[in-house]
């Protein structure tokens, strides 16, 4: 066992024994209260601390390790994400079709409001809380550095969103296989769907965390994330509809760059065989798709850099 002395538990007790302090820890002739035990087991250092923060944040995104109340919303959203997938699978199996009613890549796009709500509620939970209750300086008094904190929080948020979006896609896939749909087709579609939701997770978490990290007030964070996601989507889809109306279809694919969800949708239709959700299905082709990819990469990297910059300032 890792503890030096295991005898005695009295915490009020008199200094009843004289013991040697661990080497190098304190002078050798310190009189210890018998109730205090020194720890000389392993100290796992920075990488372990980063992993601990990651797992705590990931669990926290679903309310695990927090109050019962804080489990309600994330679990409810996860259920809402999965329920339509279950219904679709049931319908597909019952009607004996040869393909699922919804593409794998399309599923997350259809349920984007749920994903948006999840990010809006959990990103502030993850970072605004630490700012508001000033726990951040405490973290930086530990072996981790700014980059470790940001990386752990980013990875945890992205993993949480990925779980939310990947589970229903996996349900669709399992259901499709149970319904004896074509294995090769379904596996290809499933893989494309996974890539699409992985990119979506990175993008949404990045945007959500940057906005949430700006304010210690959780309410503001929630409102701001919802606003950014819905307003950008609303504006882009309205302009796309107008462009479609006026038959200037060439601009539709470029407009799609300006909201997170149409960006993901565009990458899906350019590279992942998805049917575009843009009006008239004027999604980007492969060459415009490169621009989409670049914008996505810039947004993800940019939000990481912004987070690092933010936490440089709020450290201890």
């Amino acid at each position: 066992m890792s503890f030096k002395t295991r005898t005695g538990t009295s915490h009020t007790g008199q200094p009843a024994s004289v013991q040697q302090a661990p080497p190098g820890a304190a002078p050798a002739d310190v009189i210890h209260n018998i109730g205090y035990r020194h720890y000389d087991g392993p100290r796992l250092g920075r990488a372990y601390a980063r992993r601990s923060l990651f797992s705590q944040s990931l669990r926290g995104a679903y309310g695990l390790g927090r109050s019962a109340k804080s489990k309600v919303l994330p679990m409810l959203l996860l259920a809402v994400m999965c329920l339509p997938a279950g219904i679709l699978v049931a319908v597909a199996v019952a009607t004996d079709t040869d393909e699922l009613p919804v593409e794998y890549t399309r599923y997350a796009i259809i349920l984007q409001a749920v994903i948006g709500l999840f990010v809006a509620s959990q990103a502030p939970q993850s970072v605004s809380r630490d700012l508001r209750f000033k726990t951040v300086p405490l973290y930086f008094s530990r072996p981790i550095e700014t980059a470790d904190y940001v990386a752990a929080k980013f990875a945890a948020m992205a993993s949480a969103v990925f779980m939310l979006t990947a589970v229903p896609v996996a349900i669709l896939y399992v259901g499709a296989l149970l319904g004896k749909l074509d294995f090769v087709d379904q596996t290809k579609g499933f893989a494309q769907g996974m890539v699409s939701v992985a990119l979506l997770s990175l993008l949404f978490s990045g945007i959500g965390l940057v906005i949430a990290a700006l304010t210690p007030r959780r309410g503001f964070g929630v409102a701001a994330v919802i606003a950014v996601l819905t307003i950008s989507y609303g504006a882009v889809s309205t302009m796309q509809a107008i462009a479609d109306e006026q038959a200037s279809t060439g601009s539709i694919e470029w407009l799609g760059l300006f909201s997170p969800i149409t960006l993901i949708d565009g990458i899906g239709s350019a590279f992942l065989g998805a049917t575009s959700a843009a009006p008239g299905q004027y999604g980007p082709d492969a060459s415009t798709g490169i621009v989409y990819l670049l914008v996505l990469a810039a947004l993800v990297a940019g939000s990481y850099a912004l987070l690092i910059r933010r936490y440089r300032k709020v450290g201890l």
Binding site: V30, Y36, D130, L138, R142, P143, P216
Partner: protein, 358 residues
């Protein structure tokens, strides 16, 4: 304590340490050698205490000079230092919706302790700081005193060799303050962990510390052993009633004692910085006969003796010429210190300080 301070070890050593911000010099060529034990770091707000702690944790590079904590260089071995050092911030730092146990376990893991050890150490540490059943309840419902204990527990949970406590008695009532000071004393005597504790209240530290360092405007004002100046100048506090013969018993006694050749004073400040009663006389003890003289004088005047107790000189009195008057956030103007930096401190009370989260 005697056994530890004679050791030829330093837990904190700084040499010509300076930290300059664009408009403020937070630390000005500070050289310190702090031995194991409980060391008090005293200074008014803005004196550079928080800046020093930040540098010692390896979180902020010094403008010049060097510093070592536990023999590790702060500039290059910050991570190793933070693994062996505990830190209790001045400000609130506890999320209200988790229990003390969950929070401290998490912080133990953040310090590198494996999960099982983190849980075991958390249970031990919370017990040592005096949190029992309440540790399973959310922190939001705790009193200030309990929150301070949780903050102390998270600083101790990884069994550091040194803890840095930033204003641990802030916001506590007198009883809570006494308990916290006792706990800090035990951190060293019972746990064998060295302590650097900051405060702007001098009187508070003399009960707890082996050694007191006073800084002002980022420069070292004084560094001495607590015993050095408190024991050498012992005095007794005497308080008497008035009687019909003497409407002001205190003044009458003072006169009598001064006639008998004793040095008598009234205190301006109590230990905790509150203004002292003018009715308490402090008589300097020159030897055992002093007690007899006081007793006889009181009896001779026919006054009632309310109290007569042995009292060590307050650090505040020893540093009377220093600007750190205990109960003031900002020191009164002092001819010996440069007024310029102090004015700036008042405009920006915690430049670069902890917890300036916007």
């Amino acid at each position: 304590m005697g056994g530890t301070t004679v050791e030829d070890v330093t837990v904190i050593a700084t040499e010509g340490l300076s930290k300059r911000f664009p408009r403020v010099t937070a630390l000005d060529r500070l050289s310190l050698d702090i031995a194991p034990g409980v060391t008090g770091l005293v200074g008014a707000n803005g004196a550079g205490k928080s800046t020093l702690i930040k540098i010692l944790l390896g979180l902020s590079p010094a403008s010049e000079g060097k510093a070592a904590v536990l023999g590790l260089d702060v500039a290059t071995e910050g991570g190793a230092i933070r693994e062996r050092v505990g830190y209790m911030p001045e400000h609130d730092c506890l999320p209200p919706d988790v229990s003390a146990t969950e929070f401290v376990v998490h912080m133990a893991r953040m310090s590198g302790l494996p999960p099982s050890a983190a849980r075991e150490r958390t249970a031990d540490t919370l017990r040592h700081v005096g949190l029992y059943e309440e540790r399973y309840r959310p922190i939001g419902g705790y009193s200030t005193g309990m929150k301070q204990r949780v903050k102390l527990a998270q600083a101790l949970v990884h069994d550091p060799q040194l803890v840095l406590l930033d204003e641990p008695t802030n916001g506590l009532d007198p009883v809570g303050r006494d308990e916290m000071l006792g706990l800090i004393r035990r951190v060293h005597t019972d746990f064998g962990i060295s302590v650097l504790v900051t405060s702007h209240l001098l009187g508070e530290l003399e009960r707890t510390c082996d050694h007191v360092v006073v800084i002002d405007g980022g420069a070292l004002l004084r560094s001495s052993s607590t015993d050095d100046f408190t024991q050498a100048t012992a005095s007794i506090a005497v308080e008497v009633t008035d009687s019909d013969a003497y409407a002001d018993g205190t003044a009458a006694l003072r006169e009598t004692l001064e006639k008998a050749g004793l040095a008598v004073a009234t205190a301006e400040r109590e230990a905790d910085g509150s203004p002292a009663s003018g009715r308490v006389l402090f008589v300097e003890v020159t030897g055992d006969p002093t007690y007899d003289t006081v007793r006889d004088a009181v009896a001779g005047l026919g006054l009632g003796l309310v109290r007569m107790e042995q009292r060590r000189h307050r650090i505040a009195e020893v540093f009377r010429n220093d600007p750190g008057q205990p109960n003031e956030a900002a020191p009164p103007p002092d001819p010996t210190s440069q007024p310029q930096p102090q004015v700036q401190h008042q405009h920006q009370p915690q430049e670069g300080g902890s917890g300036d989260v916007v």
